[in-house]
């Protein structure tokens, strides 16, 4: 054992929670950096190490207290843990990832960041469904576009799980929900205002940028290895409505996953962006948007939020 490193067991690490300390692997008597402090050990990497029978990993002795803090966090990260704390952790992971995506939307890592954020929401909400309710109405200091993305994602997950879609499809839905607006920062300098004002208040230039964003977001991602057509379809169609009055194409033909994200996106924009009370959102939806969104999904969402 090199004398400045101390062992920890892989089994004590919970995937998808940022570590807060540098994690090292020992390979041929050399210690190599494996996970940086700001990153979590994601599930595939964790499983990969386990499949290779790796039991021990290492930390620097100066990071011992950080490891203890991480374990404390994991010990509390269960179905009995404080829902708001869990929500804060999950939203924090998601916000960090979305920030990275927005900074470099055309980076090949955008998809990986989104999957990381989606997994963190998916795992926490599976562990404790109450977290979803908190995420629906997220109020954090992160900027509005990030909060909207997290709200869209959690709303879409709730709907998809309610109608018992396959979990792999739910993952695609969650991943895509977080990527829908990634082109906005490149399309308009004041894109944050797009989340707070009604379409009728947009200038012509703003409206053009806004109507372009679903297509542009999908274009940013289409060359990334590993991206699939379901994710791209959801992103390209997230502003479409089944009435054909959406944009950019005005198509009426939407898959179930596209309908879910379209409705979730609308809900998030109203709640987070326009700060409309939940009851009022449903009033608007059921009076002004009948025929725009899938009625069954609207009823399910209302039921979920009233529960």
């Amino acid at each position: 054992m090199n004398n400045q490193f101390i062992p920890i067991r892989l089994s004590t690490l919970q995937p998808d929670i940022p570590l807060g300390f540098l994690l090292l692997l020992k390979v041929n008597n050399q210690y190599i950096k494996y996970i940086l402090p700001e990153d979590p050990i994601d599930k595939p990497r964790y499983e990969n190490l386990r499949s290779k029978k790796v039991k021990k990993v290492y930390i620097q002795s100066k990071d011992e207290r950080l490891y203890q803090r991480f374990i404390d966090k994991c010990l509390n990260f269960d179905e009995n843990s404080d829902v708001q704390e869990m929500t804060r952790v999950v939203a924090g992971i998601a916000a960090d990832s979305i920030e990275s995506i927005y900074a470099e939307p055309d980076s090949m890592y955008a998809l990986a960041h989104s999957e990381k954020a989606a997994n963190s929401i998916l795992n926490a909400t599976k562990l404790n469904p109450e977290v979803l309710k908190e995420l629906f109405n997220l109020e954090s200091e992160d900027d509005i576009s990030i909060n909207c993305a997290i709200c869209t994602c959690s709303t879409a997950i709730a709907l998809a799980r309610y109608i018992k879609l396959d979990e792999e499809l739910v993952k695609n839905i969650a991943t895509a929900s977080l990527l829908c607006d990634i082109s906005l920062p490149r399309l308009h300098a004041n894109y944050q205002t797009f989340f707070t004002k009604e379409l009728s208040d947009f200038t012509e230039e703003e409206l053009q940028a806004y109507k372009e964003h679903p297509t542009r977001s999908a274009e940013f991602l289409q060359s990334i290895p590993g991206i699939n057509s379901i994710v791209l379809g959801i992103i390209a169609n997230h502003e479409e409505k089944i009435s054909g009055k959406g944009f950019p194409r005005g198509t009426k033909k939407l898959t179930m996953e596209e309908k879910i994200v379209s409705l979730s996106n609308r809900y998030a924009l109203s709640i987070i962006g326009h700060k409309i009370p939940k009851e009022q959102v449903f009033k608007d939806l059921f009076i002004n948007e009948i025929g725009s969104y899938d009625l069954e999904l609207m009823n399910i969402l209302k039921k979920l939020l009233e529960a």
Binding site: I6, P7, S11, T12, K55, S61, Q68, I71
Partner: protein
């Protein structure tokens, strides 16, 4: 200064016990059987006794902490803590291994900073069992 022959004897005897500890933590990983944690406490207690006899205080103190964790965890009811005890005791075994080897081969001994950090982990973890009074399984 301890006689080299006695030290050699301690290292050999301790090595056998450390191998047993490794077997126990490996088995615990598979089964989560709390009885194994109690066994761990009994075996490490023997190393502790020998270490204190030879005035190897640092090794003795680590063993003492490991023993307390083993015994207390074996009586705990919090499943998450019980499951965490196994990996932490496995790390303890590894650290002890390096410390014992370091008695003969000085270059393998962990740095004081690493030992302090690890002792801190054991104390931190032991505190989680503060509601369990007995640090042995004697009634």
């Amino acid at each position: 200064m301890i006689d080299t022959e006695i030290l050699q004897g301690f290292c050999e005897e301790t090595q056998t016990l450390l191998d047993q500890l490794t077997e126990i933590t490996d088995e615990f990983e598979e089964t989560n059987d709390v009885k194994l944690l109690e066994n761990f406490g009994q075996v490490i207690d023997r190393i502790m006794g020998a270490a204190y006899t030879l005035e190897l205080q640092e090794i003795g103190r680590f063993c003492e902490l490991g023993k307390k964790i083993g015994y207390k965890a074996s009586q705990a009811t919090d499943q998450k803590l019980i499951e965490l005890a196994g990996p932490i005791l496995a790390d303890t075994t590894e650290i002890l291994q390096a410390m014992v080897s370091g008695l003969i081969k000085k270059e393998t001994v962990p740095a004081q900073e690493a030992l302090n950090a690890f002792r801190d982990r054991l104390r931190w973890f032991l505190e989680k069992f503060q509601d369990i009074e007995r640090a042995t399984t004697d009634s």
